[in-house]
């Protein structure tokens, strides 16, 4: 196996010159896709850093964390970008992340004071529907209606987990009753966001669990104004996506520079129309016009990061028993 290591290092050495420092950033798949923010961010950051920024894409947020746990302290990564608020507690429990002093004038509906993670974008979960549907105004109305919805499985997908937390935070002990009333509205539960959204676009359901910013994609990229998000009066659950530095990074200063860059105007102005989320810091030029059409939830819901793991277990059991009957 020594030869393999040798071959591997030789290969790596030829691809990156020894005197150009390399910053390795683990992130989720859609971030590095050519139409995602990755390529633009890479170019913009490399102009400022005299370094080689290398994005490594893998699955989604949970996949990212699982990979990190597998690699442990030996990980090649300097930065992990793309964990969200539901994963922060689990990520901290690994003790792999360094604390940071990077901070900015955040445009978040909540106060942010985490010592390890810096938010770079955020969104609200919401049910998206066609304009010709009269949407319900909350989960109770949805449960009483015969509107058909598609949701994601909280055991395999982040939005699915977000919905679980949404109902739990809004209804507390009444959450099981809400899920019971929703059972006959749920057409099906999918593995991930892509499947659910795909099925919705093919007409399999009236509404799909997605983000309040989803309609902006259709307006900007497809000039299609027929998709809107339904405002729910109990408030909308939030997802904040964060970036963090690994304690074992061999490029500590460069990693700090990258985290600063992620909340700078250069990066923040790229995110809305590539990642289709709200920027964590308002760009100087503001948001694209289509984002103004997004609904503004009356109340932002978010369970404190530390409370997520225990609540998740409880809410998952309730969800399973309500939908398995």
């Amino acid at each position: 196996m020594k030869y393999l290591t040798l071959a591997a290092t030789t290969f790596l050495a030829t691809s990156a010159y020894a005197d150009t420092p390399e910053l390795v950033v683990y992130t989720y798949d859609s971030f590095v896709a050519e139409w995602g923010p990755g390529p633009v961010i890479e170019k913009a950051f490399e102009e400022t850093c005299a370094c080689d920024l290398k994005f490594v894409g893998m699955g989604d947020g949970p996949a990212l964390l699982a990979r990190l746990k597998l690699e442990g302290a030996r990980s090649d990564a300097d930065i992990v970008l793309g964990l969200d608020t539901s994963l922060i507690a689990a990520a901290k429990a690994t003790d792999l992340f360094a604390s940071t002093d990077v901070s900015a004038e955040y445009n978040l509906p909540i106060a942010w004071n985490d010592e390890s993670f810096v938010p770079y974008d955020w969104g609200y979960f919401a049910f998206v529907h066609e304009t010709d549907l009269t949407p319900p105004h909350n989960f109770r109305e949805l449960g009483d209606s015969d509107v058909k919805i598609i949701i994601q499985d909280p055991r395999s997908s982040t939005p699915g987990l977000g919905l679980l937390m949404w109902v739990k935070e809004a209804y507390g002990n009444e959450a099981p009753a809400i899920w019971n009333s929703l059972a006959d509205n749920i057409v099906t539960v999918t593995k991930g966001w892509s499947e659910a959204y795909g099925l919705f676009l093919e007409g399999e359901a009236d509404m799909v669990l997605s983000y309040t910013t989803s309609p902006a994609y259709h307006i900007i990229a497809e000039e299609d104004e027929t998709k809107v998000a339904a405002p729910f009066d109990e408030g909308h659950y939030m997802q904040v996506e964060v970036v963090g530095k690994l304690a074992n990074s061999d490029q500590s200063d460069l990693a700090d520079a990258f985290m600063k860059f992620m909340v700078s105007d250069a990066a923040q102005s790229i995110l809305p129309t590539t990642n289709w989320m709200y920027p964590a810091v308002m760009p100087k030029e503001g948001l694209p016009a289509a984002f103004d059409q997004s609904i503004e939830p009356g109340k932002a819901l978010l369970i404190p990061n530390e409370a997520v793991p225990a609540l998740r277990k409880e809410a998952l059991a309730e969800w399973l028993s309500a939908l398995s009957q």
Partner: protein
């Protein structure tokens, strides 16, 4: 059987089988070494195991039974488009799950063709979601495979048998009992076991069409354990349950298979005197029409949807396509190295229980194998460098049981029929392979290579776990497109994937059969 022909050395076969077992067990062991705490199997896991067994049994039973009339009709009839239909039988099986699901829903979904037709006729609409939906999707995936396997078996029947049956003026029923049923008894159990094992590891299909958490399979529980709970001991335990279930199915099936030979012939083309009657014609036409409609309607939905998307498909999709072709060809090569010696060993062994080892290749969760090998490789080298080789290897492992199922029955016949003669002529080892086996197995080898290539093309598998941005396979690229709202472009990519998979399947399959038809 006083004397067994020993024309094939078992040494390479045993090594290949040992290698396969080692690859899987090493991964399982690696996962276990990293397991920290165990929560064991709770009621949720047990109900997942229960549901998995129920749906896999139903899917395997229905696919296999329905395949009998379709394969029989295809074996007895010649018609325009038959060749194309036989090639398309490989299609559902190789489609990425999400594409197949969207295709099925375009036909059977809430807004699908079937419900639109029902609504147009003022009939109540039907819902596909539930256990029946899961089984429907699995039959869609596996009926064509079962049909191809049975068709292959039908074609190995010596034409002389049917000639004799014609001379004796046997009724179709009698022909079925005397000639076809003994062949089916040898083929059906293995086919059913194979489909059972494929359905064991189903996850996204079962969840989506099952309509909710009632349709939780073991694979979903494994995914949850790896991804969200990072409970490696539970993941390993569940993987073990999958392997045991698959092993039992294989053992049961191979135990049922009678160890008889159909007997040799002179490889003449079939002429069926028993199938000339009007009733027989009608039965065959119905079987072929229903089978073809069931297969072709969701496929057409995929094609129609994809044609529109081709225009907006980004160039990177083509780069991924090239990588996918490379991976597919490597998988085919690895497969041949593993499958041929193993098939040789199984065919000469008295009982075919060794074939069970082959089945482990698909019974093992790809996530488990990927994670296990990641744990093994990471300390010594950058796993990303191994992304493509590991993918090719895992894809070959996945295709191994299909290849064995395709290769073993004709190989066993060949050995039984020609073994003694070859031994008398001292034709052993490589010359026996070269002069007796390979020429006679050419169609089966072509079919197995085609299936492996296509399967490897369409598989998302472990590449997602190892991936880096510069080598993305086509299915992964398609998922990325879907994940960024680009549903149309993803549909285009799906069509390219379908075309490439079918292309690679067709080329190998055709090359195998060209000789037989000449």
């Amino acid at each position: 059987m006083a004397l067994r022909p020993f024309a094939i050395s078992t040494r390479t076969g045993v090594s290949a089988a040992a290698l396969v077992a080692l690859l899987i067990l090493a991964a399982l062991w690696a996962v276990l070494t990293r397991a920290e705490y165990g929560s064991g199997l709770g009621p949720a896991e047990w109900s997942a195991i229960h549901f998995t067994i129920v749906q896999a049994t139903l899917s395997a039973g229905i696919s296999t039974v329905m395949a009998i009339p379709v394969a029989r009709a295809l074996a007895r009839r010649q018609f325009a488009g038959r060749g194309l239909l036989v090639t398309l039988l490989g299609a559902p099986f190789i489609l990425p799950v999400i594409v197949a699901v969207l295709g099925l829903l375009a036909v059977f979904g809430r807004a699908g063709w079937l419900n639109m037709a029902l609504a147009g006729l003022n009939l109540p609409t039907i819902s596909i979601y539930g256990l029946h939906g899961v089984v429907l999707a699995h039959v869609f995936f596996n009926l064509p495979l079962a049909t191809r396997l049975l068709l292959q078996a039908w074609q190995t029947l010596p034409a002389e048998r049917f000639r004799l049956a014609g001379q004796l003026d046997l009724t179709p029923r009698a022909v079925f009992r005397a000639i076809e049923w003994p062949m089916l008894r040898q083929t059906l159990p293995g086919t059913a076991a194979l489909i059972f094992v494929i359905c064991l590891t189903s996850f996204a299909v079962a969840l989506t069409l099952g309509g909710g958490p009632r349709a939780t399979t073991i694979e979903l529980a494994i995914y949850q354990a790896f991804r969200f709970d990072f409970d490696l001991s539970r993941a390993a335990l569940l993987s073990l349950v999958q392997l045991v279930l698959a092993g039992s199915a294989a053992f049961l099936a191979l135990w049922i298979i009678p160890n008889i030979s159909i007997g040799g012939g002179q490889d003449r083309p079939h002429q069926r005197w028993d199938a000339r009657g009007g009733v027989q014609r009608l039965v065959d036409s119905i079987a072929i029409t229903i089978g073809a409609l069931f297969l072709l309607m969701p496929l057409s939905a995929v094609i129609i949807r994809g044609l529109g998307g081709l225009l907006v498909t980004p160039a990177s999709v083509w780069q991924s396509a090239v990588i996918s072709i490379g991976v597919a060809l490597c998988s085919v090569a690895v497969l041949l190295l593993l499958a041929l010696p193993m098939a040789g060993w199984i065919a000469t062994a008295k009982r075919g229980s060794v074939e069970a080892i082959g089945l482990f290749g698909i019974a093992a969760s790809p996530l488990m194998i990927g994670t296990g090998w990641f744990i093994l490789i990471h300390p010594v080298a950058d796993p990303v460098l191994f992304a493509l080789p590991v993918t090719a290897l895992v894809n070959a492992l996945m295709a191994l049981p299909f290849a064995l199922r395709i290769l073993v029955p004709p190989l066993r016949d060949t050995v039984q029929v020609y073994g003694r003669l070859s031994q008398a002529l001292s034709l052993q080892g490589w010359p026996f392979w070269r002069w007796v086996i390979l020429p006679r197995l050419r169609p089966q080898i072509g079919f197995a290579m085609g299936l492996t290539g296509a399967l490897s093309m369409g598989d998302l598998g472990v590449i997602a776990l190892f991936s880096a941005q510069n080598h993305t396979t086509l299915p992964l690229q398609m998922y990325r497109l879907m994940g960024s709202y680009q549903i149309d472009a993803a549909a285009g990519a799906a069509l390219i994937l379908l075309a490439l998979s079918l292309g690679i399947f067709w080329i190998f399959d055709k090359a195998g059969r060209a000789h037989a038809q000449a």
